[in-house]
Symmetry: C2
Subunit: 323 residues, 2 copies
Amino acid sequence: MKGLASEEDFIACIDRHFPNAHRHVVVGRGDDCAVLACPERLCVSTDLFIEDVHFRRSYFRPEEIGHKALAVNVSDVAAMGGVPLGFSLALMTPPGMTREYADALFAGMSGLAAAYGMVLTGGDLSRGGVLGLSITVWGEPVPGRRFLRRGGCRPDDVLFVVGSLGLARAGLCALEASGRDALRLYPEACAAHLTPNPQVSAGQLLARYPSVALMDLSDGLARDVPRLVGLDRDGGLGAALELHEDDLHDEVMAYAIANGLDPVEEAFAGGEDYALLGACPEDDFEALREEVQGVVRVGTVTADGLLTLNGLPPSNSGFDHFA
Amino acid sequence: MKGLASEEDFIACIDRHFPNAHRHVVVGRGDDCAVLACPERLCVSTDLFIEDVHFRRSYFRPEEIGHKALAVNVSDVAAMGGVPLGFSLALMTPPGMTREYADALFAGMSGLAAAYGMVLTGGDLSRGGVLGLSITVWGEPVPGRRFLRRGGCRPDDVLFVVGSLGLARAGLCALEASGRDALRLYPEACAAHLTPNPQVSAGQLLARYPSVALMDLSDGLARDVPRLVGLDRDGGLGAALELHEDDLHDEVMAYAIANGLDPVEEAFAGGEDYALLGACPEDDFEALREEVQGVVRVGTVTADGLLTLNGLPPSNSGFDHFA
């Protein structure tokens, strides 16, 4: 295997994987800045993806690291109901990273970028102690629509999700315990952790409903529902969540049962679901559920400033990458 | 000293230092994405700033780390002749980083951001083995002007710089040798390495001259002049550089003499000057030099595909962070 000798070497590798042209790009990679031809509104988000904090090289293939680093960013655009357009990449490489490894990483990333028609406009490279990726992603609104935001919930609004609750958590736990052998027992749970697919289409369909409040469900219901409804604010709203085993993915059930865990608590704690969490008035919910595949009702916004799970105070406070 | 317990703690610290409103921001920090009210053209750049690769905590104060991490990014907007507007920050924190340390880091960064009227729209936090910052910065053109690019040099164009050559390199070498004691002997050289000031005003004045090719001089003349003139391309142009001791900063001279180095070679090798390197037709040069303070002629674009320094092939190939 051949090492990566120079920055030029790396850039050539990037150029093989990522086209340097896009309808929204006037100047692509290779100058001090890229120049974007901008819509009136652009949404922007930045996420880190760091070895041994967000992923392990022991069971992530490089293609999966490249895919997921971009996917977790795109999920933020999906949560605005936006159309992803482009991104920049800051890549910190660990000692001894080979050209083959970089090539596979870029292949995974460019596959997802191509699926959404996103352009890589530039970035930076540096050596470092571990593999780390920082991506900044941007997108535009669906034509004629506005971005969806978190705020504006009202009591009696329906709370809903699009995507599987607790599936990525089951995958993470199984991969941590058994490495890639876990893929045989829990293929979809492992895939949810290794190669999550952001809910871009669902987000764009939801953008047709201006009454929807929406956010990226990445830290689990336990932590993200309070953020959506503003539970921590003075006079904030509350949420009565109803989660039932019938709504859970088979592998979440199987993993919980095999490990003596409560599947509903696992789904509630979640983490890295990269699902969408939303709220809307009851009057809009039926139409919305017919139009957007995979929408599942998970509860109701309340006026009491409390979070309950199936009528009781939850015992789990959720997922904190930073802690 | 108190440790940083949680992500919320960190975000509160950021909120104390960075206002969350700006004429170009519709949705600020706190949602999945920020939403920008965009000009027609936006320039975007991303840079990494990693401990023990780009800086050392042994002699950088946290204020200086915060300042420089943003400054090296703003320098890319300056090199487009642009007006910096905003940035996002991905911050990787080392074990045991205290609240006081983070506070000082954000103070240094917010000081520079305020000086340029830039808004921090969001970002991400993660623990990591070392302190690392990845910033994505964006800016707009000066009203009625276009961004300046690298390409389009012609034979006989004047090559010029704005900023000191080799001063940051002398500072880096002195700080590496003596730590902050170096500040007594080489205060301006150390400041050039610790707290570089991007040439934003000069870049914007240069944007009045559409004939100017411009780039960020961050890897030294030895590496950046070939990039400006396209020396590595088939049929690429060349450059005949003329650097004289009279043009060098006193501390570059003093450091070189004290350490048995050739001051001109040191200025040529440079690295992290965060100066501007430009080219323009001879006809525009006098007017430009009158208007833009600090412009110094350093040579001429040639048609021969060669790089020469005072008539001879250079012996130094310059500065490569990645190698």
